[in-house]
């Protein structure tokens, strides 16, 4: 071991490839953290000004993952735009699809005609996605704090959920299964049995995770009183979702503006008042339990068969087996696939509760077969922005904890 002379200030020359010294000025030093830094959960560059180990200010650079999804969506048909929209928040593609589909249905004026079963399936998949998304957050947040093994436990739950999503839509991550007007076909045989197995297994898995993490003294020390956001500041900085609810404001879009059939289900909204990283951690854990409560309720509804698509041949694709037999079905199928449908002019704002907060779409239609404007209200963007207010005064190592506790997804921040 080389001995380090602690008497004089050590020369800061090499801090590793991802922590580069940008400038030094008197007592403060400017460091660039990221964009390729494992704890930034994607491609985020944080330029921090530090005095010793204490952060004086933090500025963020985003846009490294900008792919022009909003521009692409404007140039695609209403039906096609959903495929790019699902790729914004890649941990919750079904939530993105849900929000877009609900907004488009409002413009089409078919909200009241969506079959019950389609609504139930949508809610089921959205809630399962929420658990899957929180599993990724829990696993990666654990890794950030040095708890590597939790990653495998939480990804075990996530794999079961992705299997279910794959069964329903054919793809693990971006199934494009929700459609304007309903869902793309009914759930396959064997789906409900797998779902039952998951519902039964989940509480045990959750207990294991809580035992590993919740009262772990190292994790508690790292998270308690770190990144505190008082309620007034949370509103000012536009926090939503678990981050806002950990600051004591019980705003959940599912309760405040029920959408897509949520009013049918009973669930609680976990709220805490501390506003620190640990509160956000507990709110998300509690939310996973509440979410599975909704899933269990939806499971009961799914025993009843029924249609899963709105009864409107101009919007719903005809069943595959009718295409060979009916000329009308063939024509409708051809028209919907080749030129989509027209949506009456108007604008609408639709919000849903995504795992990260209020996800909103402001859609404008000018009466054409393509959306005129697709504006997203990305919860991650605004949640992440609050890091500017949270970071000063904390240790540089705690920035990692704060980013983890805000759970940003960069596909959504940069779009």
């Amino acid at each position: 071991m080389n001995s380090i002379d602690r008497g004089s200030a050590p020369p800061v020359t090499d801090l590793g490839s991802s922590m580069d010294v940008v400038a030094r000025d008197g007592n403060t030093m400017t460091l660039s953290m990221g964009p390729q830094h494992p704890s930034t959960h994607g491609v985020l560059q944080v330029v921090v000004e530090v005095s010793g180990e204490v952060v004086e200010s933090a500025e963020m650079e985003i846009g490294y993952l900008h792919t022009g999804i909003e521009k692409s969506a404007e140039n695609l048909f209403w039906t096609q735009a959903q495929t790019v929209i699902e790729r914004m928040d890649y941990l919750n593609p079904l939530g993105n699809a849900m929000c877009y589909v609900l907004a488009a249905e409002k413009l089409l004026g078919i909200t009241d005609r969506i079959p019950e079963r389609a609504k139930d399936i949508r809610i089921l998949l959205c809630e399962l996605s929420r658990v899957a998304s929180h599993c990724v957050w829990l696993g990666t947040n654990g890794i950030d704090l040095g708890a590597i093994s939790t990653f495998f436990y939480s990804f075990d739950i996530r794999e079961d959920i992705l299997d279910l999503i794959e069964d329903s839509g054919g793809a693990r991550m971006h199934p494009n299964y929700l459609r304007i007007g309903g869902t793309n076909g009914d759930l396959p045989d064997g789906f409900l049995a797998k779902l039952d197995a998951l519902i039964e297994k989940f509480p045990k898995r959750m207990r294991e995770l809580r035992t590993l993490l919740q009262n772990n003294p190292i994790l508690r020390d790292r998270m308690i009183d770190i990144g505190v956001i008082p309620p007034a500041q949370a509103l000012e900085w536009n926090l939503t979702g678990p981050a806002l609810r950990a600051s004591g404001i019980a705003y959940d879009v599912r309760k405040a503006f029920p959408y897509g059939g949520y009013e049918k289900y009973t669930f609680d909204v976990p709220v805490r008042s501390e506003g620190d990283a640990y509160a956000r951690f507990l709110v998300r854990l509690d939310e996973m339990d509440e979410t599975m409560r909704i899933v269990a309720q939806v499971r009961k509804e799914l025993d009843r068969p029924g249609p899963v698509m709105v009864d409107d041949p101009k919007i719903a694709q005809p069943p595959k087996e009718t295409i060979a037999l009916s000329m009308e079905a063939l024509i409708h199928h051809f028209k919907i696939v080749s030129e989509s449908f027209r949506v009456p002019p108007g604008d609408v704002y639709q919000a849903i509760e995504s795992p990260r907060g209020e996800l909103g779409y402001y859609l404008v239609s000018n009466g054409n077969n393509r959306p005129y404007r697709v504006r997203t209200r990305p919860p991650s963007l605004y949640n992440l922005q609050a890091l500017k207010a949270m970071a000063p005064g904390n240790l540089i190592a705690d920035i990692v904890v704060m980013i983890g506790s805000l759970d940003p997804v960069f596909g959504e921040v940069d779009r």
Binding site: E236, P344, S365, G367
Partner: protein, 203 residues
């Protein structure tokens, strides 16, 4: 709020917001750029604690060309339960802005969260916000030329326009953003009239 309460502006045919069906998603206020800051301040003082989102729409061919859209939400500013939150008030403020160099007043003084949102609108639409602390590009690289979400900005960027896409033969495949015309426009008028409960006009 129904569309009848939205003040009409020049070029209504190009303004879908004036034709919107009765969707109860927010209270809609349309303001002129001069009155924007006063309106936002009044709403902020009146309980709209959150600026949920700020975005823009390019209505190319309309005057004023752009709409900047503010989505506000009124949440109680102190610790509150689900029952206390209830159904908070949603307000949507639309502000038309045009000209060679469109510019509006910044909302960062009222809500700090407007910072990144205004930078994004500037980056992608070229609308400036007077008084913004650091109005630079946020999504596109700093040396980028042009504003990609403008309707006259080519989909694949200016450099690649030299190799246009092969023409798609369907008649209905009008360019994105073009207002409907001919039979489609007539059918649309009927649809709108029906949605409003009126008899369609006989041609």
């Amino acid at each position: 709020m129904p569309s009848s309460q939205t003040p009409s502006i020049a070029g209504t045919a190009l303004d879908p917001t004036a034709l919107r069906p009765a969707i109860d998603d927010a209270e809609i206020i349309r303001v002129a750029p001069e009155a924007l800051l006063a309106t936002l301040s009044a709403l902020r003082a009146g309980g709209c604690t959150m600026l949920l989102d700020l975005g823009a729409v390019d209505y190319l061919g309309r005057d004023p060309r752009f709409d900047v859209v503010y989505h506000l939400l009124a949440l109680p500013a102190r610790t509150a339960s689900v029952a206390e939150v209830g159904t908070p008030r949603r307000v949507r403020v639309l502000c038309g802005v045009g000209g060679e160099e469109p510019e509006l007043a910044t909302a960062t003084g009222l809500w700090p969260s407007a910072d990144w949102a205004e930078r994004e609108v500037y980056d992608l639409f070229g609308i400036r916000f007077a008084g913004h602390p650091k109005l630079t590009r946020i999504q596109m690289p700093a040396d980028w030329v042009g504003h990609p979400l403008r309707k006259d900005y080519p989909l694949r960027g200016p450099a690649r326009e030299a190799t246009p896409r092969p023409p798609f033969p369907l008649k209905s495949n009008v360019p994105a953003g073009a207002p409907p015309s001919g039979k489609v426009a007539a059918a649309l008028q009927k649809q709108i009239a029906r949605a409003r409960g009126q008899e369609p006009e006989k041609a």
